[in-house]
Symmetry: C2
Subunit: 372 residues, 2 copies
């Protein structure tokens, strides 16, 4: 599988939903496989909150491959012998695209920080569309993504009805529920309330070296809904760390040690401000904003919609995906819903790949046949 | 209804499960109604994490009455014309009982802080038992409590089999699941990770006056499971604060404003260290500790057990209460389970009182008849 990582720079302004403008701006992306002559084999992968454009393959020396490596590759569910796969790092994220820690002007030592504009899923999608246009790709076979990535897939369907042959939003919603907004708020406050945040002007290197407990706590809060209660049971039980005292105040159950490890590691590879900005984008997500109703929004969608949800998802409930199906039925859109049995929790879309990779492969094949 | 608030002081050592000793120690408690001549009309109420001995009635000038005022009072579910109700502040909590912010020696300016011993639900129950003994109360009609209060009710049944005629644990579990331990961990880390915590030696007055974002965040994390997703929908929807900008980074949905308000208020009335110690007690809770099996523990219980759970409880799931019923059935114990339809969430035991107050009243009457 051929992998390429690039950053595309744009001098033309990016007009945002907020009315603000990013100019210039840049976006990082990665591609897998080869673009065919008529550019008709493109699949766009959209990532989740802490994801990146590095969806598959391995960089030299890396312990772990990209976040959807189980799904994307030669002979895999998304077969890179057949498809040219693109994954971008969403704007606002900290893996190479323009974000709160980018310089305000190229070469400037002054970074946006809190002056970075609030971005939305609509903006994220728009930026990706401009990138693909610049690559001469006007249409893709499919947009596929889970969680925040699924929001992007839906948004593509509504905002650019002729862009994708097929949309596959996974483990997502059409409108972020107040429950999830509340989770995002707790995470955001954990970061902002940490004095190390310094009103957004924290020292980036210091955060990586010395840690950032507020961001670590935020990550721990996330895990409470990424995994399901049943997964916590299976993975950890009530096992205690062998060398910790049961009646020591800081003695730990194994589940606590797991959260500590993953929480404390998080600031080493994710930026606090990017996290806050992307949480905001997720909270603001409402496929109906700008339309007189949700139905009007859904009626924009021209591509067949294949929804995949997981029964044990406690972040974006299967009911929410069923609701999308209902709306699509009402507006007469093509839509199928696959509800996958899994009690793993929200992270099923990352972990239980073997339960839906064959499905994606089938949808892609079938979708191709039906293409006009 | 006659209300009395007192603090009982004990010079004799309190031997804790950890092997540590509290000496001297004290416990705050409140009583409602009047003790009859043969002391046979006592009901013990056990409180939850952020509760106190102030379960009912109103102190002069108070805006809100005690936390279970809807249930306890003249003519209410727990009728104070008939019963003498006692509620203690658990040891470790910050409303007048011995806790991490108590002086190590009476009159000393040195407080326990992190030198306070880890306490368990077993210790909490033991202290209450000693208090009741000192009041000449050897047996009670019932122990009734929700959440952490339900753990205490169960613990009373196992540790003091001849103490209560009836046990009514509500919205609780027999063994804290790793999922809840994970929630507790995130809350505990939010507090500990805040530099204002100062290794436990924070300035108490400063916390009250200037706030303590770590504890505020912990409280917000709590709300994510005290209310259900459905309650978040009903209470807030996706309404935005009218005067906040949609595309302002710190602009707020109403649910965020609610969390902020309740989170930021929390440090004004609850102590950070008490919170950490009580979270630890909840995480450590396992009715089977000290027994060779859960069944052996449950077989200690002699009192009829009336369990009340709520279908929408996402903290202590109804399944966990059903499991208690199964264990009791296996060991041949008297047990009934009432599963109350409510999608309010864990806080149903505080909020949906009209759905179970009549039940408690009936159980108390029936229990009285059956008393040998």
């Amino acid at each position: 599988m051929k992998i390429e990582t690039k950053i595309a720079h744009f001098q033309k302004p990016l007009y945002l939903e907020s009315g603000r403008i990013l100019e210039p701006w840049h976006i990082a992306y990665e591609t897998y496989g080869e673009l065919n002559r008529d550019k008709s084999n493109v699949i766009l992968i959209t990532h989740a909150l802490s994801g990146s454009h590095h969806a598959a393959g391995r960089y030299p020396g890396d312990r772990k491959p990209g976040w959807w490596d189980g799904l994307i590759g030669d002979g895999k569910g998304i077969d890179t012998r057949k498809y040219f796969v693109i994954c971008t790092n969403v704007i606002g994220s900290c893996f190479g695209s323009i974000s709160p820690i980018s310089p305000i002007y190229p070469g400037s030592s002054q970074e946006y920080r809190l002056k970075f504009p609030v971005i939305t899923i609509k903006d994220i999608v728009k930026a990706q569309k401009i990138l693909l246009d610049s690559l001469g790709i006007r249409r893709v076979r499919a947009v596929i993504g889970g969680s925040m990535g699924g929001m992007q897939a839906l948004r593509f369907g509504v905002d650019f009805p002729n862009f994708a042959d097929i949309l596959i939003p996974i483990a997502t919603t059409y409108q972020t529920r107040p429950y999830v907004i509340a989770i995002n708020k707790a995470m955001s406050e954990a970061i902002k309330g940490d004095p190390r945040f310094k009103g957004g002007y924290y020292d980036k290197e210091q955060v990586k070296k010395e840690g950032f407990p507020g961001l670590a706590t935020a990550r721990m809060i996330g895990y409470l809904n990424y995994l399901s209660p049943a997964t916590f049971d299976r993975k950890f039980g009530r096992n205690y760390v062998k060398t910790d005292g049961m009646f020591q105040l800081w003695g730990r159950f194994q589940v606590e040690s797991y959260l500590e490890y993953n929480g404390n590691n998080f600031p080493k590879w994710f930026d606090p401000l990017s996290y806050i900005y992307l949480l905001k984008a997720i909270s603001l997500f409402d496929i109906g904003r700008g339309y007189s109703s949700l139905l009007e929004a859904f009626s924009q969608i021209r591509s067949p919609l294949y929804l995949i949800s997981f029964t044990g998802d406690t972040l974006f409930f299967p009911e929410e995906m069923r609701q999308i199906k209902k709306y699509m039925d009402i507006v007469g859109g093509k839509c199928r819903l696959f509800e996958i049995e899994s009690d793993y929790g929200h992270d099923s879309f990352l972990v239980e790949i073997s339960k839906f990779d064959y499905l994606i492969s089938e949808i892609l094949e079938k979708g191709l046949e039906k293409r006009k």
